[in-house]
């Protein structure tokens, strides 16, 4: 799940995880940027680098969460592939871990996507996948292609060798038909433009584009679409007991300003909807939550995702 900053990417990722878990499935929600966004959305204390159950989905499914810390992922990687766990301390002290996770180009991303790929592929003793789906709250649209295009990213760093082999494994998971990169957008010019650019970039990199989640859609009474009479509004205001002869007109005038503004925005939203259509991918609409994205709101969004068939 990607999206421009401010579009509600983390919230929608969380709602999608809930929707996918509904009816008894098991979903892992992964966070990669160290922002503790998942904890905030679910109103929990900060998550450690450890998979733990954080929510129960409608109809009894489980959402687990993992906040990936690149340093921990690096130490785990060393242990898993090289049996070098005890080296961790020495490496940390030498600045190797710091180097690998913050400075070495692309390495950080490979570690993070690598950990996620491992969770995707993990099987239990019976050979069944441990998670039915893994949802990643990915970096914003402007950086997501680069982030997911791991082979390209480490190309300069490692043309051959173990890092490259690891990157190729990750690429296999990310580019597989089992993966979908979804976009979250608002019906505003900049996020829509970034979404379209992002879709084009992903396609150019041969990465699988999923759908577009249009977030915070306001539902407006169609009565307000056409031209309307301020005098009629003034009469209504008076009939509703909100003003007398003198100030009903004043109130109506002010309210009319709100309607005009709403119509102008609706017009712009139509333009942006048309623009999104050119991406030729499925689109889903999520309502603006009156009380903000609290826990109840998350379940409401999950429901909207399910009824539209996105999960």
């Amino acid at each position: 799940m990607t999206g421009k900053g401010g579009t509600g990417k983390t919230t929608v990722a969380a709602a999608l995880a809930l929707a996918l878990a509904a009816g008894g499935r098991k979903v892992l929600l992964v966070e990669v940027e160290g922002r503790q966004g998942i904890a905030q959305v679910f109103d929990l204390p900060p998550l450690p680098y450890e998979e733990r159950k954080i929510a129960v989905a409608p109809g009894g499914g489980d959402v687990h969460a993992l906040a990936i810390d690149p340093e921990e992922a690096m130490l785990e990687y060393l242990e898993m592939f090289y049996g070098l766990k005890r080296m961790g301390k020495a490496l940390t002290k030498m600045g190797v871990v710091d180097f690998a996770t913050t400075i070495a180009p692309g390495l950080r991303d490979v570690l993070v996507t690598g950990k996620t790929s491992e969770a995707v592929r993990r099987r239990d003793r019976t050979g069944k996948r441990v998670y039915d789906t893994v949802v990643m709250d990915a970096p914003p649209t402007g950086r997501v292609t680069r982030f997911l295009n791991v082979t390209q990213e480490v190309a300069g760093l490692a043309r051959v060798g173990p890092v490259r082999t690891h990157a190729d494994m990750v690429r296999g998971v990310v580019a597989s038909p089992e993966t979908a990169v979804h976009f979250v957008t608002l019906l505003e010019e900049m996020p829509v433009q970034e979404t379209l650019d992002g879709v084009a970039e992903l396609r150019a990199a041969k990465l699988p584009v999923g759908g577009i989640f249009i977030n915070m859609v306001r539902s407006v009474d169609p009565t307000l679409d056409g031209p309307f009479d301020v005098a009629e509004l003034a009469m209504g205001v008076k009939a509703a007991g909100l003003g007398d002869d003198g100030n009903a007109a004043v109130i109506a005038e002010a309210l009319a300003g709100e309607v005009t503004e709403q119509q102008r925005r609706a017009e712009l939203e139509r333009t942006e909807r048309d623009a999104l259509e050119t991406a030729a991918v499925p689109r889903y609409e999520l309502p603006l939550l009156a009380d903000g994205a609290d826990l109840a709101g998350l379940y409401e969004l999950a429901e909207a995702i399910r009824t539209q068939g996105a999960a």
């Binding site: 060393l78 400075i103 490692a158 060798g161 209504g236 002010a254």
Partner: protein
Amino acid sequence: MTSPELDLDGIIDDSGTRIVVCCGSGGVGKTTTAAALGLRAAERGRNVVVLTVDPARRLAQSMGLTSLDNTPRKVAGADGELFAMMLDMKRTFDEIIEAHADPERARQILTNPFYQSLSSSFSGTQEYMAMEKLGQLRRSGEWDLIIVDTPPSRSALDFLDAPERLGRFLDGKLIRLLMAPAKAGGRSAFKILNAGFGLVAGVLTKVLGAQVLKDIQTFVSALDAVFGGFRQRAEQTYKLLQAPGTAFIVVATPERDAMREASYFVERLAEERMPLAGLVINRVHRSPAPDLSAARSTAAAEDLESRGEHELTAAVLRLHAGRMQLAAREHREQEHFASAHPTVPVTQVPAMSQDVHDLDGLREIGELLAKR
């Protein structure tokens, strides 16, 4: 709890203000705020350059920025001295190398595969180069006010930390280890190091592969011979930011996440003793009929609906109630901030129905920013 008012005109009109840094989480209108302030300052007589890292296309066009050529260009149509530039981090890095190395050594560094990925990667380089460019613009003395927006980092604070981190790496133990073979004449010098170093080098070879390690070594030794003071440069820029001529402006929208990030940022700037000017809250929703509350509006709509009268009015009242609820929620977020940070000055910019496309749009935002 109400916040004191942020007097942005007072800041940009003060000839002592030399740098304005706009920071905040992604998607809150940082670049737009930086550009609008730049235009306003230029039109009020300052000689201004706006340094932007990653502007949206339309916004870049509104300032006449069509190419990313890493050089300040004069903005046509501004009634004053306004220049704007987009940061090209790779070119900025290349220029540092070219300025400090003899041509042969510069060539060695610029063609090194490790350098090439380092200089075009996003992990820290962009933040470091933004600060480096800021230092360059400041030293050039060509502009008396530099306005910069911070990179769209995973955390809004990266630009404060990244230079220090890159400096720490380049001056650190790891680098000394990697340089050891070069200093020992290129022979397999890991042998002469102590066991701990040898072990680490062994791990690096195993994980990264011998070729990568060799690229890094060549790069680091070439770079070190050119200038050892990466950390020193980072520290200089850091001090520049702490100086009294700098004003930090935190940008947010009145939503929970953005305001939380803004709070965090305000605290962090205080910790680092960076001069905070105040908070800009963009996209604040207001109503032209603020005296009609959401509750009263909803009740009236329900009344009309139950009577089956004035369908249009009922719909308008519902729209208004929604608007008032949103405004109330936004107001609560701002109050939270004000009670946590009662001394931080704040200014609001109302939500616009359209994005900014041209200088007129920027001018309008500038007016709204300064309005008290």
